[in-house]
Symmetry: C3
Amino acid sequence: MWEVIYYLDLTGTFAFAVSGALSGIEKRYDIFGVLFVGFITALGGGTTRDLLLGAAPVSWMHKITYLYVVLLGVVLTFLTHRHIMKWRKTLFLFDSIGLGVFTLVGIKKTLEFGLSWEIAIMMGVISAVLGGILRDVFNNEEPLILHKEIYATACFAGGLLAFVLSTLGAEEVIQIPVAIILIILVRLLAVRFHWSLPVATKRE
Amino acid sequence: MWEVIYYLDLTGTFAFAVSGALSGIEKRYDIFGVLFVGFITALGGGTTRDLLLGAAPVSWMHKITYLYVVLLGVVLTFLTHRHIMKWRKTLFLFDSIGLGVFTLVGIKKTLEFGLSWEIAIMMGVISAVLGGILRDVFNNEEPLILHKEIYATACFAGGLLAFVLSTLGAEEVIQIPVAIILIILVRLLAVRFHWSLPVATKRE
Amino acid sequence: MWEVIYYLDLTGTFAFAVSGALSGIEKRYDIFGVLFVGFITALGGGTTRDLLLGAAPVSWMHKITYLYVVLLGVVLTFLTHRHIMKWRKTLFLFDSIGLGVFTLVGIKKTLEFGLSWEIAIMMGVISAVLGGILRDVFNNEEPLILHKEIYATACFAGGLLAFVLSTLGAEEVIQIPVAIILIILVRLLAVRFHWSLPVATKRE
């Protein structure tokens, strides 16, 4: 199972790098700028998780394949961005896979540090969503994810399911794939049916 | 004494979470976005201090009460924000308590790492003010604190007083409360009498 | 040689602090705000490098001279900013020296952690450029460096040269100064001749 998750993790990293690169191209950054935003988007969440846990040097320093996947995603995007809309459904699927896998990998790593499930779910969500938030901060834009997407909620639901399954005694080989699939489904359905979270109504 | 400081620390955390949540509501973020900004505001300063000191996993991962206080502050704000102006004086007092307590807790923790008083005062100021700065950065606004409030200065004055008292041989049980009170007083008086720091005049 | 590099490192820190302080004055921050941006610009890159490597407490906590150099740069800038354009060529040279030295110091430190040359070059570039990017993020502006300057590229070229020289068996006493000089030269020539990196052309 872990081998499959490893490849799905790389798939998600690729999709996040493409999303970051596209935002940098939109901003008319040069190739270095596009690369920088691609890295932040793809690796910012996991890096923050590692720093908060005290797991430095952070993981991509030892698993250098992740850097090359980001580089590949950014360079391909830079060269083919005019035609990339053809692949937008595939990219959206990859992005959703990344969301699910990043969440569960973050949860597992946090539990391995002997921390509680509450913290683990929180770290799972951070691993999955912070890259996109940092992308917007470095692009000098209001973070999109804070506004209008069921994004963190999908990750949270998956984390909660993993916790429930674990409490019921399910093995990781059941728990993790089921939770990942829930996250992907919630994400896909949320976009399909325009689900959103409540916004506080302002005082007139 | 430490028990009192612990409860004051939670009080400050609550006030900072409310301040963050209000800024997120103003931005029309959804409930997740409001929660995110509440966390950053309340825990961003202490988290950065812990990371710079090398004290990871950061403290709220082990003291989970802080997370629940933030959650409480954010949810209450989300539900009652139309009426929150009634409490603004109480919140301002709580916020000032937070400023004082965060500074002294930051100083004490840094000294326990064997670092110098200069670094300790700097870390105290960072613990107290960085949450508010990060709130503005994630909200895509110019950090208010850098502009026009005697905010960091109050913390710095309190840190300096703690250092002087410590040099004179005062015990912690004197030193820490006196310094906290100074910070709260400077903050209250600064707002009351519109004190501000010099701004460099621009070249015409 | 290390003593010379130490003084050049302080020179670069000074120049970066001045650059940060000028941006804060431009924003009409008060003296605390100007100091904050000066610190972020001068020490943000090296601090991030240390955090990613797991080298906390970060280096300026033990080498307090760096803090005083930043303080000096900021205070001098605050007092003399009306006349500072007279020194702009000197400052630009100091800034370029900083770029070169920060890169090579970052590379050396990363290699000492037993990490690969790829990661070391990346950490070298981050050490040199992230301070300027964080300055713009905290100023709520789009990071200039991502747009239009051969800045990271100069650092990358220097890092690559150090790697090649090291592979060819050159000693550090040759390798490091030569790479620093290359970075300074590329930077000076890029500004002189308006070199820039490719930008992706947008879909019409």
